[in-house]
């Protein structure tokens, strides 16, 4: 057995089903060894997307997604994907080939200092120097990636270490890391303080972030708020934690959120942030919003508490444990008036759009699409105007809403949808992107074709980088710079080239018929929607 065999065996021990990647000489021993296993390999068309696909898979399985690429450019191409996962706290184990360990530092062909380059985007990284360390390293990598605040871990694997013979292989039962012990259980005294504050509060609000999903605390949150009748808003990463139409859910906050959700944040006398970073796009000027508010901040990462807003009650731990423990207390609170006023804000502050009937209205399109989707469908939103429309108008029931809220990496949706569909072949998977983001990942249509991955891709086409155009509209008085996408290919021809079904929707006429056709079969589809180039989110 050599190092590569050992690594592959470790992946089997971890229950890995898929590896996304792109080979090169420096990772060839690994890709040779993997042929001896049942682990399926997916040849993605550019390395960045290997990380995105692994991210899509991780978000559906709750286990770290795995990608493996070669040294040098393979590794550096992966970085944006790693950084995306890091910003959104998605667990990944990224394996990179490396040149012969004796040549490291001599700038040989396809050498890159990848552990150095990704230092600020990973939870941890390893450079394997001795194949005997592989079982311990892989065990640690999976544990680190998927515990505490989740995130990517990178293992850099020189080719000679992949080829190094090892005698005994045994996979460790547990990890021993003296420097890493994430807090799981919340401090009981702090939880008791929350109970007291909730009893005093007149206008409490829970702001749910991506951490609720990562901690698998969706049910705990729902039962707590239903029990106490506390209204909930969410950050972008928290969308889907509450069903969109739940009577206690008031939508996304932030500079792209709903006005009534932001008003709720302003008027609340108690805000409980759960697994949310209080980041700039979600809470503008937190010190002002939180001035007279009791701020309870629940996060598994102590560094997030107090980073952007000083919490009245900080509480470090796993959201699921804490919410569960909190629900064991009898909390005497009465928030009926507050709920009624939030209801009335929603009525008083309608979002009025005046869509041009010559085009598809993205808001109404997304709403009607989501109502046609299966109850547990997976909806992947890309980045740009399409993302904001998706956040606001997609109706989540028991399905999932995936997007990159932290990094905002264009091109995320198609590879992430590929990973999600492979993880859950039984569920409908829809990727919604713009014509800019589509072109950043359209090479993955080949991956879909090669492995028969039936994802529905919807392109909201406006011939602009719409989000930037909108920014230039407001900030630069319509002086458009480098946002014109008019050279884009005919999507119909692109679809034909990849043997995909294609439809173009020009306006809202017969929309239901189009959607029925789009979703009729579990087959790949490229759907182009012509939207108003001057539309604003």
């Amino acid at each position: 057995m050599n190092g590569a065999d050992a690594l592959v065996k470790c992946l089997e021990e971890e229950g890995v089903k898929y590896v996304f990647g792109y080979p090169g000489v420096a990772i060839c021993p690994f890709y040779d060894a993997i042929l001896n296993t049942d682990i399926k390999t997916i040849l993605i068309r550019t390395e960045q997307n290997a990380a995105h696909s692994a991210s899509g898979m991780a978000r559906l399985t709750g286990r770290p997604g795995v990608c493996a690429v070669t040294s040098g450019p393979g590794a550096t191409n992966l970085i944006t994907g790693i950084a995306t996962a890091f910003a959104d706290s998605i667990p990944l184990v990224c394996i990179t080939g490396q040149v012969n360990s004796e040549l490291i530092g001599s700038d040989v062909f396809q050498e890159a200092d990848i552990t150095g380059a990704v230092e600020s985007f990973v939870k941890y990284s390893y450079l394997v120097k001795d194949a005997a360390d592989i079982p311990r390293i892989v065990k640690e990598a999976f544990y680190i990636a998927n515990s505490g605040r989740k995130g990517p871990v990178l293992i850099d694997f020189p080719i000679d270490v992949q080829q190094q013979k090892i005698r005994n292989f045994s996979y460790p039962e547990e990890v021993k890391l003296r420097t890493y012990k994430p807090t799981v259980k919340g401090n009981t005294l702090q939880i008791k303080k929350i109970v007291k504050e909730l009893e005093k509060a007149k206008r409490p609000l829970i702001c749910a972030g991506g951490g609720v999903r990562l901690a698998d605390a969706k049910e705990e949150l729902r039962s707590l708020v239903e029990e106490l009748q506390i209204p909930v808003v969410s950050t972008m990463m928290g969308i889907g934690v509450m069903a969109t139409e739940h009577p206690l859910y008031f939508g996304m906050v932030g500079n792209n959120g709903f006005p009534w959700a932001n008003r709720a944040m302003k008027e609340a006398d108690l805000i409980m942030m759960v697994g949310a970073r209080v980041a700039d796009r979600a809470v503008n000027q937190p010190e002002r919003v939180m001035k007279d508010t009791v701020l309870i901040h629940i996060d598994v990462d102590p560094a997030e508490i107090g980073k952007n807003a000083g919490a009245t009650i900080p509480i470090v731990g796993d959201a699921r444990h804490i919410l569960k423990e909190l629900s064991e207390y009898e909390i005497d609170g009465e928030y009926g008036d507050w709920l009624r006023s939030l209801e009335s804000y929603k009525q008083e502050m309608p979002v009025v759009r005046k869509p041009d009937p010559k085009y598809v209205d993205p808001a109404e399109f997304i709403r009607r699409l989501s109502l046609k989707l299966q109850d547990n469908a997976i909806y992947v939103a890309d980045v740009g105007q399409n993302q904001i429309w998706s956040c606001k108008y997609h109706v989540v029931r028991n399905g999932r809403f995936l997007t990159t809220g932290g990094m905002g990496t264009m091109g995320y949706s198609i590879p992430a949808a590929v990973g999600a569909k492979l993880a859950r072949p039984d569920r409908q998977v829809v990727a919604v992107c713009g014509d800019g983001s589509f072109q950043m990942s359209m090479m993955e249509l080949a991956t879909m074709r090669q492995y028969d991955i039936p994802v529905k891709i919807i392109v909201l086409k406006n011939n602009y980088l719409g989000m930037v155009r909108q920014y230039q509209h407001f900030t630069y008085d319509d002086r458009y710079s480098v946002v014109d996408l008019s050279g884009s290919p005919e999507l119909e021809h692109i679809a034909a080239a990849y043997d995909m079904k294609f439809m173009r929707i020009r306006d809202m006429k017969d929309l239901d018929k189009h959607l029925d056709e789009l979703l009729a079969k579990d087959e790949a589809y490229l759907c182009e929607c012509i939207v108003d180039p001057m539309d604003l989110v």
């Binding site: 552990t115 230092e119 939870k123 941890y124 420097t179 980073k307």
Partner: protein
């Protein structure tokens, strides 16, 4: 505000760059940094002097704790610590100022550790303030080069700590 961070780290390759990189990546200041092995070979101690607002200093501690190679972070204010720095300083001398240099050494409790016809190396181990004072005293004579360790510090002895 200034604070001392006494950071126990795993003695592995790349640890220094990871910790230093954390400071630059998050725009934290490093006023001084000293690293060395401890009584345990696998463990090094990094003594970092940093300054910033209370909130920044708290973030530094939390971010350091997130690094997997960091075993333990202790922080304390300068007045709660015994701080020392070691400096070697090479000066050019002549008959006219030799006496003066030796007087400075005597007052400052520095030693002459090497000497040639025109050059001498002085060694001083003292608080960072005294080290700076020594430099300014010798600046008026003729400094050739200076090497200082950065501040080493341990929390003052308190039986309950």
């Amino acid at each position: 505000m200034r604070r001392i961070f006494s950071v126990l780290v795993e003695n592995r390759s790349g640890v220094l760059s990871k910790v230093a990189g954390l400071f630059s990546r998050r725009s934290f200041n490093i006023d001084s940094l000293a690293v060395g092995e401890t009584d345990e070979k696998a463990v090094s101690l990094m003594t970092i002097l940093s300054s910033g607002t209370e909130q920044t200093l708290e973030q530094i501690e939390k971010q350091l704790n997130k690094k997997l190679d960091v075993i333990k972070v202790k922080t304390f204010d300068e007045d709660k610590a015994i701080s020392r720095e070691l400096m070697l300083i090479k000066v050019k001398y002549n008959k006219g100022n030799r006496r003066e240099i030796m007087e400075i050494c005597e007052v400052m409790k520095a030693q002459i550790v090497d000497m040639s016809e025109h050059l001498m190396i002085l060694q001083i181990c003292d608080t960072p303030e005294k080290i700076s004072l020594m430099i300014s005293l010798l600046q008026q004579i003729s400094i050739v080069e200076v090497a200082r360790t950065g501040t080493l510090a341990l929390q003052k002895c308190m039986e309950d700590s």
